[in-house]
C-alpha cells in the first residue's frame, strides 16, 4: 500500500526549486549588464591615462624584443634620433643626412608609431585588468570564522586563510574565499558575481558544493573547506594572464609572428639592396627616406595590434563572465568541431510541462482535469505546477484540498496523489504503476488510454496515467519544452561547421524525438558520465576537437579530456580544476558565445594581417617615386597619387602608417564580426573588406594627408 505522508503546505518551497534558474531570464539580465558596460564607451578616461603611461614604460627594448616587428621600428626610431642630432651639428653634410627639421619630424612620427602600438597593448591590458578587478573587488578583506580543531571558532582576516582551512558561514555572512562546502546547506546570494539576484542553494556533497568568495550566505549554516591559496584563485590567474606577466603566445600567435617576421625580413632585403641600386642609378637617398620606407613597408599595423588582439580576446571572454585559464583555450574554442550539451537546462527549459489531458471513454474531460488539478495542487514539483497552470482558471477556482492528505512521489511507488477529505483517492503516475494499481483492484486498464499513452511516448512526451479510486480516468501528456530560439542557435552552429550533441538520461526514443525537434545533430541517450568520456575520445581519435560543459565531479575526467572544458562556477572544485574555463553565470549555452569569441580572435588577426600587407601597395606608390623622381624624372609617372613633393609624399606615408594603428584599436578590441555564412563566403567577404579595402584606403588616406601636409610646407 501506498503510505501517506503528511506535508506541510505552508512550509517554504523545496530547496531544489531555488536552484532552477530560468535560463532565459539570466540571458536577459546578462544582456542588460552588457549594455550597461557598453554605455560607458570603449575609451574610459582613467583607462586611457593608465595606458598612456604604460605605452612609454613599454619602450624598454627588453620588452619590445618580444614583438619583432615593432622592435625594428624602435631601432629605426633610434637611428633617426642619431641622424637628427648629427644633422643639427654645424657643418653637417645635408646631402646625405638631410634637413634637421625634416629628420626630427620623421623621428617624432616613428616614435609615435611605436607609442601607438604600445598604447594599443597597454590599453587592452588596462581594460582586461579593470574587468578582472571589478570582479575581484567582491573579495575584499572580510572577516572569516576560522574553525579550529576541537570545534572552536576564531575570527581572522580572509587573507590569512590557507588551503585546507575550514571556516563557518552563517546567514548574513560574506563568504571570505573560494571553497567547498563540507557540511550543511545554505541559500546563497551570488549576485555579486553573476548579477543574478535569485538566491541559489549550495550544499555539501553532490555537484553544487562550491562557493565563491564575495558571495553572501542568506540562510542556514555551512562549513567550508578553503580550496585556494591567497592570490591563486582563477581570477588572480586571469589577471596575471591579462597583465602579461604569465601571458604566453598561443601557437597561432607564434606562427603569425613568424610570418610577420618573414615579411619584415623581405623588406630588410628590399631596403638594404636599394642602396647599391640607387648608387648605380646615381640617386642619393637620405637615411630618413630609407628608414621611412622600411617602417612603412613592414607590417606595423598588425605588428602593433597583435598582442592587443590576444588580450582583447580574453577580455571579451571575461565580459561574457567566463574565466579562461589560458589564451590558448579561447583560441582552441574557435576550432571546435563537436559540442556536447546537456539536454536539461541547455536545450530544454529545466523541466517537463503538461501540455494536454486525455479523458477515457465515459469520463468528462472536465472531471479528468478537476481530478488532475486536485492531485497537483499541493504538488510543488514543476510537473505538478504545470498541470495546474494548464487547467483553465475556471476549473481550478473553488477547488479545495482542505483536510486532504498528500501522497508524495517516491522512487518505490512511482506515483503521487492525494487522499481527499471525503475519502476519494486520486493517483497519477507512470502507466505501468497505475495499471498495476487498478488491475490489483480488479479494474481494467482502458484500451483507449493505453493507445493514447503509446502515442504520447512516440511523440517524445512523457505520459502520466490518472486514476480515481483505482479507476483510470485519463492521461496527462507532459512534454519537454525546447527553449525558444535554441534551434536557431544550433543552425548557426551548424553553419559554423560545429556538430552539436545532446546528452540526456532519457530513453533513446524520447531523446531522438527531442534531438530532432531541437535540431541537434546527434544525441547520447541514457547517458552515464563514462558515455560522455567515450564519445569525446571517439571524436578526438577521428581528429575532431570537442568542447563540453559540466559541473559535477563525475564530469571532471570528461572536462579534462575535452579540448575545451567549461566548468560551471557552481560546480565542484574538481570540475573547475579539470576544465580550462569557468563560467561564472553557470549558463550552459555560454559555449556558443565562447566559440564565437575564439573565432573572432583568429579572424581579427587574419584580417588585420591582410589589411596591413595590402596597405604596402599604396605606400610603394607613394615612396618609390618620391625616392627617384629627382634623378629619374621618367619615374614621375609612377606618382599616380600626384603627391606634392618627395618630402610630402614620404611624410604622408609615415603619418598614415602611424595613424592607422590607433584608428584600428577599436576594431582590434571589439574583434571582427563573425558571421556563420560558411568559410568560403566569409573568406570572400573579408578578402573584399580587408584585402581590397586595404589596397584602396591608404591611397585615399595618403592623398588626403598629403593635401594637409602641403599646407604646412
Amino acid at each position: 500500500m501506498v503510505e501517506g505522508v503528511e506535508y506541510d503546505l505552508k512550509s517554504s518551497q523545496p530547496p531544489q526549486q531555488l536552484t532552477r534558474l530560468n535560463n532565459l531570464n539570466i540571458l536577459n539580465i546578462l544582456n542588460n549588464k552588457m549594455k550597461d558596460r557598453d554605455k560607458k564607451g570603449l575609451f574610459q578616461l582613467e583607462l586611457v591615462r593608465a595606458a598612456a603611461v604604460q605605452s612609454v614604460v613599454k619602450l624598454n627594448p627588453r620588452q619590445m624584443f618580444r614583438n619583432p616587428v615593432m622592435f625594428t621600428v624602435e631601432i629605426g626610431t633610434a637611428i633617426m634620433l642619431v641622424v637628427t642630432v648629427l644633422s643639427m651639428m654645424s657643418g653637417a653634410d645635408v646631402a646625405t643626412l638631410g634637413h634637421p627639421g625634416y629628420n626630427f619630424t620623421i623621428f617624432i612620427l616613428l616614435l609615435l608609431t611605436v607609442l601607438f602600438a604600445n598604447f594599443a597593448e597597454a590599453f587592452a591590458e588596462a581594460r582586461g585588468k579593470a574587468q578582472a578587478e571589478s570582479l575581484r573587488k567582491t573579495r575584499k578583506d572580510t572577516p572569516a570564522k576560522l574553525l579550529l580543531e576541537g570545534g572552536t571558532i576564531t575570527t581572522v582576516s580572509s587573507s590569512e586563510l590557507r588551503r585546507g582551512d575550514q571556516f563557518v558561514c552563517e546567514s548574513g555572512d560574506i563568504i571570505p574565499t573560494d571553497g567547498e562546502i563540507i557540511e550543511g546547506l545554505a541559500t546563497i546570494d551570488e549576485s555579486a558575481i553573476t548579477g543574478e539576484s535569485a538566491p541559489v542553494i549550495r550544499e555539501a556533497g553532490g555537484d553544487k558544493s562550491s562557493v565563491t568568495g564575495g558571495t553572501k550566505v542568506l540562510s542556514d549554516r555551512i562549513v567550508v573547506s578553503v580550496t585556494v591559496q591567497p592570490g591563486e584563485s582563477f581570477l588572480d590567474k586571469m589577471i596575471a594572464l591579462v597583465e602579461g606577466a604569465s601571458r604566453q603566445k598561443t601557437p597561432n600567435e607564434i606562427a603569425l609572428t613568424i610570418l610577420l617576421a618573414g615579411f619584415t625580413l623581405v623588406f630588410v632585403i628590399v631596403c638594404v639592396t636599394l642602396k647599391p641600386f640607387a648608387d648605380y642609378a646615381n640617386t642619393p637617398i637620405s637615411i630618413a627616406a630609407y628608414v621611412s620606407l622600411f617602417v612603412c613597408l613592414i607590417p606595423t599595423t598588425i605588428g602593433g595590434l597583435l598582442s592587443a588582439i590576444g588580450i582583447a580576446g580574453m577580455d571579451r571572454a571575461l565580459r561574457a563572465n567566463v574565466i579562461t585559464k589560458s589564451g590558448k583555450a579561447v583560441e582552441t574554442a574557435g576550432d571546435i568541431d563537436v559540442l556536447l550539451l546537456d539536454k536539461t537546462g541547455t536545450i530544454t527549459i529545466g523541466n517537463r510541462k503538461a501540455t494536454n489531458f486525455y479523458a477515457t471513454d465515459g469520463v468528462r474531460r472536465e472531471d479528468l482535469i478537476r481530478n488532475s488539478v486536485l492531485s497537483s495542487l499541493a504538488d510543488e514539483t514543476p510537473e505538478g505546477k504545470s498541470i495546474v497552470e494548464l487547467a483553465s482558471p475556471d476549473l481550478v477556482r473553488g477547488l479545495s484540498i482542505e483536510g486532504a492528505t498528500m501522497i508524495k512521489f517516491t522512487a518505490e511507488t512511482r506515483t503521487s496523489g492525494v487522499n481527499l477529505a471525503d475519502g476519494t483517492r486520486i493517483r497519477k503516475g507512470a502507466q505501468d504503476t497505475i495499471r498495476q494499481l487498478v488491475e490489483r483492484a480488479g479494474n481494467a486498464f482502458p484500451d483507449d488510454i493505453a493507445k493514447e499513452i503509446q502515442h504520447i511516448s512516440s511523440n517524445g512526451g512523457t505520459p502520466l496515467a490518472v486514476s480515481v479510486n483505482e479507476k483510470v480516468v485519463g492521461a496527462i501528456e507532459l512534454q519537454d519544452i525546447i527553449k525558444t530560439g535554441i534551434s536557431e542557435r544550433f543552425d548557426r552552429l551548424r553553419k559554423m561547421g560545429i556538430k552539436t550533441v545532446m546528452v540526456t538520461g532519457d530513453n533513446p526514443l524520447t531523446a531522438k524525438f527531442i534531438a530532432e525537434k531541437a535540431g541537434v545533430d546527434d544525441f547520447i541517450a541514457e547517458a552515464k558520465p563514462e558515455d560522455k568520456m567515450e564519445y569525446i575520445k571517439k571524436e578526438q581519435n577521428e581528429g575532431r576537437l570537442v568542447a563540453m560543459m559540466g559541473d559535477g565531479t563525475n564530469d571532471a575526467p570528461a572536462l579534462a579530456q575535452a579540448d575545451v572544458g567549461v566548468a560551471m562556477n557552481s560546480g565542484t572544485q574538481a570540475a573547475k580544476e579539470a576544465g580550462n574555463m569557468v563560467d561564472l553565470d553557470n549558463d550552459p549555452t555560454k559555449l556558443i558565445e565562447i566559440v564565437e569569441i575564439g573565432k573572432q580572435l583568429l579572424m581579427t588577426r587574419g584580417t588585420l594581417t591582410t589589411f596591413s600587407i595590402a596597405n604596402d601597395v599604396a605606400k610603394y606608390f607613394a615612396i618609390v617615386p618620391a625616392l627617384f623622381m629627382a634623378s629619374i624624372p621618367a619615374l614621375q609617372h609612377l606618382n599616380i597619387m600626384r603627391l606634392y613633393s618627395p618630402e610630402s609624399a614620404i611624410l604622408s606615408a609615415v603619418i598614415f602608417n602611424a595613424l592607422i594603428i590607433p584608428a584600428l584599436i577599436p576594431l582590434a578590441l571589439k574583434g571582427v564580426e563573425y558571421k556563420p555564412i560558411g568559410a568560403s563566403a566569409l573568406l570572400r567577404r573579408n578578402l573584399f573588406i580587408y584585402g581590397l579595402g586595404g589596397i584602396v584606403v591608404p591611397f585615399l588616406g595618403i592623398k588626403l594627408i598629403d593635401l594637409l601636409v602641403t599646407m604646412f610646407l
Binding site: A261, G262, K495, L602, Y620, S680
Partner: protein, 576 residues
Amino acid sequence: MNTELLGVLVIFLLTLALAWPLGHYIARVYSGERTWTDPIFGPIERLFFRVSGIDPNHEMTWVEHLKALLTINLIWFLMTMFVLMNMGWLPLNPDGNPSMSPDLAFNTTISFVVNCNLQHYSGETGLSYLGQIWLMFLQFVSAATGLAAAAVLFNALKTRTTTPLQGLGLGSGVRVGLGNFYNYFLKSSTRILLPLSILVTIILMLNGSPMTFEGKDTMVGLQGDTVQVSRGPVAAFVAIKHIGTNGGGFFGANSAHPLENPNYLTSLLELFAQFIIPAAMVFAFGFYLRRRKLALMIFGVMTIGFLMLVIPNIVFEMKGNPAFSAMGVDQSLGAMEGKEIRFGAAMSGYWSILTTVISTGSVNAMHDSTMPLSGMNELLAMMVNAFYGGCGVGLLNFFVYLIIAVFIAGLMVGRTPEFLGKKVEAREVKIAMITALLSPLLIMGGTAMAAWAQVQDPTLPWLNNPGFHGFSEMLYEMTSSNANNGSGFEGLGDNNPFWNISTGIVLILGRFIPIIGPIAIAGLLASKKYIPESAGTLKTDTTTFGVMVFSVIAILTALSYFPALALGPIAEYFSM
C-alpha cells in the same frame, strides 16, 4: 584571325588538351598502378634495381628522400666537373674543342645539375660531343629529380595518419613512409621523360635537325664563301632540353639556331614539349590525390597568371618598337629586332613567357631585344616561378605559396589553418617563409652585389648597355639563376669569375632549398593527424581560395621586387 596568333592559340589549347590524359598517366605511374608502359620498361627497371641492389619497395621518410636526392646530385656534380675540365683529351671530340676553365666548369656543372642550364659558353666551340652527351644525361636526371621530388609531395599529401603523433621531425623515431625515392626517380626517367623525348627527337630529325657524331661540315654559301657548320647529336639533345624543361641549347643561339629549331612546325613542337609535363603534373596532382577540383583551382591560378604575362608580351611585340617607328622604320611585322623571321613576333612573344614561367630558359629570340615591359614580364615570370614552373619543381614552388595563403586565409575565417585535413602550424609557416624569402634574397642580393661592383669600378666590361637596361641585364641574370631558368638577357659579359661563381651559388641555393622546404613541409604534414572536413573548414578547391592564392603570389612578388623593377624595365619604359 591573324595566322600568327592562331598558331599560338592552337598550340596552347592543344597542349592543355593533351596534358589532361598525360596527367592521368603520370598519376598512375607514381601510384604504382598498371600502365601500358609496364611490359616495355618494367624489365629494364627491374634490371636496374637488381644490379644496384636497391629495393624499390623500401619506404623512405621525407628526410631519407632528401638525403637520397642530395647524394645523387652530389655524385653528378663531381662527375660532371671531371668531364667538363678534361673533355679536351677525352674521346668524342672531332672538332678539337678545349676543356673548360674551372670557374666556367663550376658554373656549367651546377647549371645542368640543377636543371637550369644557364650557359656562359657556346656549344659549338665550348663542348666536345662527350661533353654534350654528358650534359644531355644531366638534362634527363635533373628533370627526373624534380619529378621525383614532386612525387614525394604527392605521396606526403595523400598520407593520412589516424593515430595522433607527437614530437615529429628529425630523429623523433616517427616513421612515415612516403614511397621510395629511387623508384620515383627511375620511373620519372623511363616512363615519362624517355618516351616523350624519343617521340620529339624523331619529329625533329624528320624536320632536319642533325643527329650525328661526325664533326663540322663544310658548306658553300650563295656568295661562294665556305662556311664551317657545327653538327652533332642535336635532335636528341633538343628533345630532352624541352621535355625536361631544361633549356640548355646545343648551340649558343639555342632554339633560334636553324639546326636546333628548323621551321615553324618544330617551333610549335618545342613549345608543346616544354609545356606538356609542367601542365600534366598539375593534373597528375589532382588524379593522384583524387582531388581534381583542387588541381583545377591550381591550374586556373597558374593559367590566369600565365595569361596576364603572355598577352601583354604578344601585344607589345606585335605592336612594334615605337622608337623605331619614330625613325620611320616599318614595324608592321612587330618588334623584329633579335627575332627570327620564320617564327615571327607573336610566337616569339608567346615563347618568351612560356620559357620563363616554366623555367625552361630555351629561347627562340633575343630577350634582350624585347620591349621593356615584355622584359619585365619575363622577369616577373621567373620571380614567381610557379605559374606551371619547371618539371615537378613548379608544383613545389606553388605549394609554398599555397601554404602561406592557407595560413592567412585560415585565420581570416576564424579557424586554425589546415590544408588537406592537416593543421598548418608554426613550423610549416617558418619553412614556407624561409623558402619564400630565399628568392628575393638571392635575386636582390646578387643584383645588389653586381650593381655595387659596377659603381666601384665603372670600367668593368660586363654591360653592353649602360643605365636602366644594363641594370635589367644584371637583374635578369640573377633572376634566371635563382629560378633555375637559364635564359639570359644576354648583352651581359657573363663568362668571368664574378658571374660564373655568383650565379653558380645562386643556382645551387635556388634549386635545392625550394625542393627541401616544400618536401619538409609536406613530410611534417604527412605525420600529422588527419582532421575530417566540416562545414567550418576552409575549402581550398574553390574560386575564392584561388583568388586568395593569386593575391598572395601577386602581392608577395610585387612587394619584393617593385623597387628593382622600377629602376630597370619600368624606368626604361617611361624613358622611351
